[in-house]
């Protein structure tokens, strides 16, 4: 119990400490904050070991009591929450550690570590809360810390824009979430998830579910509100790793898992379709990015889409598993990418040579300079790609299994989408690794790139270690383990084989496509060229086309639409402003000018000519008399 509270409040303490430390002692922060987070992680592991597989428990904490209703900030404990809590604290600790290196020399470590700690606290709040309103509060608070952290480098105009965009997109989703909360309060009179989940179906349930899912769309960057996530990469890379890959964006998925019983059939269907669209669009977009972080961002979108798709199809456990695995390998990918960026940046500073350190086209052949980073990047990339012996393979298998559970056309279609997405995942992962580390031909011109310091290598390595299969289950081809224990969802052996084969095909394809940017004139290659042509024709062209379309739609249509609506609002707002100034106020002026006009009339009879006065008086008198008689 104490451990649990410590897990929740130690990050807050860290945050508090960081904010209250004077600037002179800011070196203390980088000692204390990671240490406190280490404690958090330890305590969370203690909690998970001591409480794993216990029956669900509820810790009651009264909060607000009204005369006829009360809202309490209860904590709900079950495997899901415990798992998520430990993931959050462990990843957060590692990111803290990493940040010590990454953010060394940053002007404002107080704000950075303070907000990081605050974020961890809020995230733990989301995880542990049993009350939807409390959950919503933390939900918004993570959004707030995300806002601050994205905008950490406030001198960058882009950072500010990205932060604003992120918060506003989230706000749209949150508004829907809030409406959902209102419906739930109206119909059930409570916010407690444990109560809502067990209560009978109610009127407006689909509507409420969809509204809550609206919140998920915003937070987890789902279609159509996903464009904020790539932009959010303006923030420091560890932040992207923690918030925009491992935890916050996963909070939406987590929420879906928590309130799963709330969703009706229709709502689930919508959820699945949304997830599918997002997954596909994200994967395609990732394939054509040049910014290393944006590739990862689109990848995150795509993976989140997969989770949501799975949950929409009823595979809660599979979604959770993927969430768990994804948290580690994606965090590792980001941190590794961060290492690449960091080392290039350092080299660049030494060399006074300016180029975009995040652009794939400026990289190549870095594996010799950055061996550890190369290793961690590859391991986590493999996990992302779903290569056997990595956690990603197992979670993907679990998802396949979940999709194929009921043999409807819809589930089959969804399965196909998922397969395509995994295929694309392999492609872009390979492309990413290849371009950064292999392809020596495009190696940056003799830059003195050296490996990042130990404090950054260790967390990356730890995360990489967490991306192998053991973390999920002992059997590298079967996802049953400590997380998924229900053996009724057994994967068929054919599925495993298919999965392996599919990855292999994809790898081959990727290798063929990305190995050499320039083509060699020989027979074998000609054959390959034919395949290339076919591929070019069948996949590349069309997919490129599709991708450009998606990107186009993303950049132009959706973003434009959203921008347009934003502009529309601004224009509308200006119209309102104008309206206020001229019409509403004008009405007032109109009234006052009427008053003046009447006054003018009353005055105009006072022309100084006595005979006119008398005439007016007499006429008025006559009028009165005629009127009266």
């Amino acid at each position: 119990m104490l451990c649990l509270f410590l897990t929740l409040f130690l990050p807050l303490l860290s945050s508090f400490f960081s904010f209250s430390t004077p600037d002179r002692y800011s070196w203390l922060i980088i000692l204390i904050a990671p240490f406190l987070l280490l404690l958090t992680a330890v305590f969370s592991l203690i909690v998970i070991f001591s409480c794993w597989n216990n029956t669900a428990g509820l810790i009651r904490i009264p909060w607000i009591s009204l005369s006829d209703a009360s809202i309490s900030a209860n904590i709900f404990l079950e495997n899901t929450t415990l798992l998520m809590a430990s993931v959050v604290s462990v990843v957060s600790f590692l990111v803290h550690l990493y940040s010590v290196g990454y953010m060394a020399g940053d002007g404002n470590p107080r704000k950075y570590f303070g907000m990081l700690g605050f974020f961890t606290f809020a995230m733990q709040g989301i995880v542990l809360a049993d009350n939807l309103l409390v959950l919503f509060i933390f939900w918004e608070l993570v959004g707030f810390s995300s806002y601050i952290l994205i905008g950490h480098w406030s001198e960058k105009t882009q950072a500010g824009k990205a932060a604003t965009k992120a918060f506003l997109f989230n706000r749209v989703g949150d508004a829907a979430f809030l409406i959902g909360l209102m419906v739930i309060w109206d119909t059930t009179g409570t916010f407690e998830i444990s109560t809502i989940n067990t209560s009978a179906t109610f009127e407006w349930q689909t509507f409420a579910g969809l509204c809550i899912f609206g919140g998920v769309i915003g937070k987890s960057a789902q279609f159509p509100l996903f464009t904020w996530l790539p932009d959010a990469m303006e923030g420091p890379t560890p932040v992207s790793a923690l918030i925009h890959a491992a935890t916050m964006v996963a909070a939406g998925v987590y929420l879906l898992i928590r309130v799963f019983p709330l969703f009706s059939e229709t709502a689930l269907m919508v959820i699945a379709v949304t997830g599918a669209v997002t997954a596909f669009a994200g994967a395609l977009a990732a394939l054509f990015q040049f910014d290393i972080k944006k590739v990862l961002a689109y990848s995150t979108i795509s993976q989140l889409g997969l989770m949501i798709l799975t949950i929409g199809m009823g595979g809660v456990y599979a979604g959770l598993l993927h969430l768990f695995a994804h948290a580690f390998f994606k965090a590792c990918l980001f941190l590794s990418a961060g290492s690449v960026i960091h080392s290039l940046h350092q080299a660049q500073r030494r060399d006074q040579h300016h180029f975009d350190v995040q652009d794939l086209r400026n990289m190549g052949g870095l594996r010799k300079n950055l061996p550890v980073t190369f290793l961690t990047f590859t391991i986590s990339g493999a996990s992302l790609a779903g290569i056997p012996f990595f956690s990603g393979f197992l979670s993907k298998e679990a998802m396949y299994t979940a999709l194929l559970k009921d043999n409807t056309t819809f589930s089959l279609a969804v399965f196909v989408v998922m397969a395509i997405v995994s295929f694309l995942t392999v492609l872009y992962t390979f492309r990413l690794i290849w371009f950064i580390f292999m392809d020596d031909s495009r190696k940056p011109s003799a830059l003195p790139v050296v490996e990042v310091p130990m404090i950054m290598r260790i967390p990356t390595a730890l995360l990489a270690a967490s991306s192998i299969w053991i973390i999920v289950s002992l059997n590298p081809f079967n996802f049953f383990g400590w997380i998924v224990t229900d053996r009724s969802n057994a994967p068929s052996i054919w599925l495993t084989i298919f999965s392996v084969m599919w990855v292999a095909v994809a790898l081959v394809m990727a290798y063929m496509r990305f190995r050499k940017p320039s083509f060699l004139p020989n027979e074998f290659i000609a054959d390959a060229f034919k395949i290339d042509v076919a591929y070019d024709f069948a996949i590349k062209r069309s997919s490129e086309k599709l991708a450009t379309t998606v990107e186009f739609s993303d950049q132009r249509i959706i973003d434009k639409a959203i921008h347009a609506s934003a502009y529309g609002h601004v224009i509308f707002a200006h119209v309102i402003g104008w309206f206020d100034k001229y019409i509403v106020d004008g009405l007032v002026h109109f009234v006052s000018s009427i008053i003046r006009w009447v006054g003018g009339i009353a005055r105009s009879y006072q022309n100084g000519k006595i005979q006119d006065y008398i005439l007016y008086a007499i006429l008025a008198l006559i009028i009165f008399i005629i009127w009266a008689l």
Binding site: G608, K609, Q611
Partner: protein, 101 residues
């Protein structure tokens, strides 16, 4: 036609003509005459109506007092007209309009 009604109609005529003179004539003294005409209209009425009520002399008394008051008005009016004339060199009322608005 009853002579009494004629008296009253005569009064009405004088009253209206008095009002018209006051409104129309570009001379303060003419306006004064108009006022007198209106007062005379009242006097005609008072005297005429007194014949309905022969027991008391109210109407005639009233008319007497009206004549006296008319004298007072004329006196003060002429004094004022003279004074204005000193300042404005005119007795045309519509030229005396420094006060307006």
């Amino acid at each position: 036609m009853n002579s009494l009604i004629l008296m009253i109609l005569l009064g009405a005529l004088l009253f209206s003509i008095g009002a018209m003179i006051i409104v129309m004539k570009k001379n303060a003294i003419m306006m004064l005459l108009g006022i007198e005409l209106m007062l005379n209209a009242s006097n005609i009425n008072l005297v005429a109506f007194n014949r309905f009520y022969p027991t008391r002399m109210d109407g005639q008394m009233f008319a007497l007092f009206v004549i006296l008051v008319a004298v007072c008005e004329t006196a003060i009016g002429l004094a004022l007209i003279l004074r204005v004339y000193q300042y404005y060199q005119t007795s045309i009322p519509e030229n005396i309009n420094e006060l307006k608005g």
